[in-house]
């Protein structure tokens, strides 16, 4: 509603401008004006490139490229050297390889979780918001139950029952995330349901499915994408935490959380030098931190630009 009211005031200002600014240009201008947003985009772009170029940056030698190659089985980590630019961690897993391919793992996990959650939201949230009534009541009560669990606890329980693997960790995180997406889409559907263009589509004789798919979803899906961008970092942290707890990626898998867990035994260093094995923690820890920071900053930027209503919550 506020957008409709704001328009008459905004129009003359836009006319006065020399060239009419398109929506994309305005978005880009707002985006550039905040250095933190640019930093976030830069970090995310950096990791995208790293994930895409992984086979060239760190050449896979195992049959499964996600398994980190290790030279020998000596248990103590080795400091950075020409052959291993970031050093090796417990059992000689190469940290550089792990960090580079870990970027792929992070994107793979986060995108799979978001895709699953959005798909469930599109199926359940749209039915719930469109038809209302009993269907809505049931879906909402089910989400209540899922939201009554602390997220990490629920993922731990699901992985414990399904067994430890990357796939099961993704399933577990998706199970925790879908209620938020579903509730958001339902809310958007309630807002869009009585708009004139939906009524017009109905009056023209469109079926329910067509109204939902062609008219309502395209107008209701954007907040979901903002939520997804805000959520990417959180998903990667949860997955890393699962791996750290020994419930996500198996040992030797290129995953940052798993690499951090390998540093657990070497935290105290040696007798004379407590920071002997600093790289085992700092290298994968920095990778997670920068990845999540990038997404958090980018998500904040998207929210501020596309959904000004949410600005107050910052």
């Amino acid at each position: 509603m506020s957008a409709v009211h704001a328009r008459p005031a905004a129009l003359p200002a836009a006319r006065r401008a020399k060239a009419v600014e398109t929506g994309w240009q305005r978005t880009l201008r707002r985006f550039r004006s905040n250095p933190l947003s640019v930093l976030g985009a830069g970090l995310v772009a950096f990791f995208v490139v790293m994930a895409l170029l992984a086979p060239f940056l760190a050449h896979p030698t195992e049959r499964n490229p996600y398994m980190i190659p290790h030279s020998g089985y000596a248990s103590d980590p080795r400091p950075p050297s020409p052959g291993h630019p970031f050093g090796t961690t417990e059992e000689q897993f190469d940290l550089f390889y792990g960090v580079v391919w870990g970027a792929r793992t992070a994107f793979m996990v986060a995108l799979s979780v978001v895709a699953t959650a959005v798909a469930i939201a599109l199926a359940l949230g749209s039915v719930s918001g469109f038809y209302g009534g009993r269907a809505d009541e049931i879906v909402m009560r089910v989400t209540d139950v899922f939201l009554a669990f602390p997220g990490l606890i629920l993922t731990v329980v699901i992985v414990a029952v399904l067994g430890q693997s990357v796939r099961n960790a993704v399933i577990a995180i998706a199970v925790v995330e879908w209620p938020t997406y579903t509730r958001l889409l339902r809310g958007e559907f309630l807002r869009v349901r009585d708009m004139e263009y939906v009524q017009a589509a109905r009056a023209l004789g469109s079926g329910d499915l067509r109204v939902i798919a062609r008219h309502m979803i395209p107008n209701a899906v954007y907040p979901l994408l903002i939520l997804a961008s805000l959520n990417m970092g959180g998903i990667v942290i949860t997955f890393a935490a699962l791996s750290f707890l020994g419930l996500g990626a198996p040992p030797g898998y290129a995953d940052w959380g798993q690499l951090v867990s390998l540093s657990h035994n070497w935290i105290a260093g040696t007798a004379g030098d407590p920071f002997t094995y600093w790289y085992t923690l700092i290298v994968p820890g920095t990778a997670i931190f920068l990845f999540v920071l990038g997404w958090n900053l980018l998500g904040d930027a998207f929210r501020d630009i596309f959904d000004p209503r949410l600005q107050g919550s910052r």
Binding site: A148, F149, A160, A240, A241, I267, F275, F289
Partner: protein, 341 residues
């Protein structure tokens, strides 16, 4: 007020039913034989499996099973935990005080620090303190708890040797297990004082400092953000301007007029904080090798100790439901508009 609380309390069993239903549904991924084997803790009992399947109605329709399981849980029979080597209910009773102690200290620090920092950075918007607290809250949200905890451990245990992991050092642990020590509450710091053993108190405190610091840093970030934005909104309201116009001292305006109202949304979001605390406790206990419910639950999950995992999930879900209830009731106490609607 009473009516409101009673109405909320009536919802409690419903939520409990849903939560237990979800856990039960998850258990359906296991075969009856697997679930029956969860009730035995000796290989000699293996040939009793068919009897156990019958006894626990594992060959019956799902709703019969669910009811039987609910009755069992209501009687406190959660099965045998292989990781703790004792019944699940006993294990929970044993581990819970340690977790509670950690959570209570962390919660206290988070509330005081978060509300203070949030207020200060709203009052001094865009000044140094505000920038520092904003930077801290952004980095706190991006740095995983376990990386932060391990960093602290590397510096304060590895380098300085001040704060060791675990809950007690060896000789303190031996003393606590000897007959001379009376555990009154299970909270080690409190018990040490009640027993008049200052050295024991210091030993327990030394082990608590790092885990509490880890949880505090991570969750204060959340609270500062909430308090700051709520405070900023309140400071712009008319009644705050009126209070200033009356010539009240700035401190009175901030502390008495603005903050009291600004804290209302903070209370609602307090349940969010509680969720964070419950998840944080699980990771923190694992990082610092602190023998609480979280560490036990994680170990149980790794070793397919399903009864323990079930108990772990039930107790945390229960805590969250109670936490939400407390937040709702407090909300109703501080904001009369909620009760009337």
């Amino acid at each position: 007020m009473t009516a409101f609380v009673v109405r909320r309390l009536l919802l409690l069993p419903l939520v409990g039913l849903g939560v237990s239903g979800l856990i039960f549904l998850l258990l359906q991924f296991l075969t009856p034989a697997m679930r029956a084997s969860l009730y035995i803790h000796d290989p000699k009992q293996l040939n009793a499996l068919p009897d156990l399947i019958r006894k626990y109605h594992l060959d019956q329709p799902v709703y019969v099973q669910y009811w039987a399981w609910l009755v069992q849980v209501a009687h406190g029979d959660l099965g045998w935990s292989e990781t703790a080597r004792e019944p699940v209910a006993d294990a929970i009773r044993g581990y819970f005080p340690a977790t509670l102690e950690l959570a209570l200290y962390a919660f206290g620090f988070i509330l005081v620090l978060g509300v203070w920092l949030g207020t200060q950075s709203a009052v001094h918007k865009d000044h140094v303190l505000d920038q520092v607290s904003r930077f801290t809250s952004i980095s706190g949200a991006s740095l995983p708890t376990f990386v932060w905890g391990l960093l602290l451990l590397m510096i304060f245990y590895g380098h300085f040797g001040w704060f060791p992991p675990g809950r007690l050092s060896l000789n303190a642990d031996l003393y606590v297990r000897s007959g001379a020590f009376h555990p009154y509450t299970g909270l080690m710091t409190v018990d040490a004082l009640l027993n008049g053993r200052l050295w024991l108190f210091w030993d327990a405190a030394k082990h608590l400092i790092l885990p509490v610091a880890t949880l505090t840093y991570y969750l204060t970030a959340v609270l500062v953000r909430i308090t700051r934005s709520s405070m900023l909104e309140t400071l712009r309201t008319d009644y705050v301007r009126t209070a200033r116009a009356k010539g009240l001292a700035e401190r009175v305006v901030v502390d008495k007029h603005a903050r009291r109202n600004a804290l209302i949304p903070v209370i609602t979001l307090g349940s969010l904080l509680f969720v964070g605390l419950l998840s944080g406790v699980v990771i923190t206990e694992t990082v610092f090798n602190y023998p609480g419910i979280g560490q036990w639950g994680v170990e149980a999950s790794q070793q397919l100790d399903i009864p323990a995992v079930t108990g772990f999930a039930l107790i945390f879900a229960g805590l969250l439901v109670i936490g939400n209830l407390c937040a709702d009731v407090m909300y109703a106490i501080v904001d009369p508009r909620i009760r009337l609607s």
